[in-house]
């Protein structure tokens, strides 16, 4: 069980938006698990529910039914304050597109993470430097996002996702603003970080060329997993 405590478990996960006649089931009865150190892709056409699923895994949305267990805690019914704390402490997000704060330098964008946890410190600064160095963007530390290339921006975003040393790294369409060569590089470094740091890595993408870097692919269509794993 101690191995499972470090992983992620989704059980009969369902999300319904609206109610009555207008109710829409965005995610229907999805079950799967991901081990620490495993990098998994969720693919599917737009509207298939993959972003909603990602939001439930990351504590951005509550589940209507079913549960999400991350690192031994069931987060699926937590209130907003509990989920915000979960996101601060256990989750690293890489959002789609231009997701850095435009008026903060690369380094300051990383320092947002300790700042919102009230843990700004010299150690946090050193850690930000270290992460930027590892992702090869250290010399861009004092540049604003607008002065960085698309690839550099994504590397800064990945560094930010690792700032709080999360259990779970969630990535939303990481290549949507990149050409395929840069996209490939970015996803490869993501995969490396997940492996090296023993994180639970989950990436939502529509770009099938990126699937060479992942351990496993979950296909979604119409809110369901296409090849459901056996119930754990």
């Amino acid at each position: 069980m101690s191995q499972d405590d470090q992983g992620l478990l989704a059980q009969s996960l369902t999300k319904v938006f609206g109610s009555g006649d207008t109710a829409v089931e965005a995610v229907r009865d999805v079950s799967f698990s991901v081990r620490a150190g495993e990098f998994v892709a969720i693919v599917g056409p737009s509207g298939s529910g993959k972003t909603t699923l990602l939001a439930m895994l990351g504590g951005l949305l509550t589940a209507t039914r079913g549960r999400v267990v991350v690192g031994g805690s069931d987060i699926s019914r937590w209130n907003e304050a509990q989920r915000a704390r979960f996101r601060r402490e256990r989750v690293g997000f890489v959002f789609q597109g231009f997701n850095l704060v435009p008026y903060l330098t690369a380094e300051q964008n990383l320092l947002v993470i300790p700042s919102i946890s009230g843990k700004a410190s010299r150690e946090a600064r050193a850690r930000a430097r270290q992460l930027l160095r590892e992702l090869g963007v250290e010399r861009r530390a004092h540049h604003l996002p607008g002065e960085l290339s698309g690839g550099e921006r994504q590397r800064v975003a990945i560094s930010r996702a690792l700032m709080n040393d999360p259990l779970l790294v969630l990535v939303d369409e990481p290549t949507s603003n990149l050409d395929s060569e840069r996209g490939n590089e970015v996803v490869r470094s993501l995969a490396e970080e997940v492996k090296m740091r023993n994180k639970i890595g989950i990436m939502v993408t529509h770009d099938r060329r990126m699937l060479t870097h992942v351990d496993r692919v979950l296909e979604m269509a119409d809110g369901r997993l296409q090849s459901p794993e056996p119930q754990p």
Binding site: T51, A55, A84, F95, P102, Y103, L104
Partner: protein
Amino acid sequence: MLALQEIRRKKLQFGLISLIVGMVVYLLVMISALGSGLLSAMSGAVNSFDADLVVFSADSNDSFLRSELTADQRDAIAEVGGATGGIGYLAATAQEDSLTQDVALFGFEPGSVAEPAVRSGRALAREGEILIDRSLSRSSGLKVGDQITMRNALINYNFTIVGEVDEGQFLGLPSAYVFLDQWREMRYPGHGQDAPAASVILARGHTDNLGARVEAAVPNTSALSKSDAIRAIGGVTQQQQVVMTIELFGFVIGALVIGSFFFVLTMQRAYEIAIFKALGASSWYVFGQLICQVVAVALAGLALGVPLALVTEAALPSDIPLQITGGAFLTGGASITIAALLGSLFSARQVVRVNPMSALGQV
């Protein structure tokens, strides 16, 4: 501080709002200064009385112009307790060569609490000598040693200026001081000993409800605290109400300007706020950042508006009743900070309503 970084990167926007806030601070300080200037011009000389209580005659409607107290009343008031002293009031005209100037002429009982403190020159020694207020020497150029004529009821009285006091103005007129007996002679010429003894009696004493005891012990008197006596001066209350109303408008305008600026700013960065929230920031955190910026803008506005007010005071001619006091800065500074914080509450709802899901490009 990350919130201050945004100000650094958006110098133009924050510079302009700070400029506007600075102008509102300037306005508030100047209005407050005009208010105290007006109050001082109307009642400075009364405020300078070294007394807790001003006793008027009951039928005077608490007016220095109408109040008349007899010698019996004066003696009875002195018996109630505390230190007392008679004051006589008269609006007279000072003349010297080409100068004609209305003054507020006070008669005081020598050696009593009513006697003003001499700042330069010497105290009165005999009748025919007069003390003038600084406001009079400044506006007219009169100085110690000069001869002036005071005219009242078609009679001229000659005086030598022997000293200067710093008591202030009354009803917009500079004050001047003579012995009470001389005032009596000028105010009631030909009445001799039948004339009233004084306009009002000042009393000083720490005993509680001295006023009530005076009114009870001495018939036909009306005892007011000094601040009530000032408020009873015709027009003072109305003037101060006008000033306060204008200040209130300035306050509301300040709150609206700052409020709408931060409201628009908050709407513009809804996406950034969504990212902050998705990363786990609470609405409190985001709002705290906003408050930091609001306070920074208010401080910048103060840093602009306060020196501007000081420069204006130095540049304006001295006959404009403008008195920049610590209170004026406090009023300006405190009200703009409160206005800024109230204004930013508009944005609080906005911050709370941002859904972190929009960071994922949904909702």
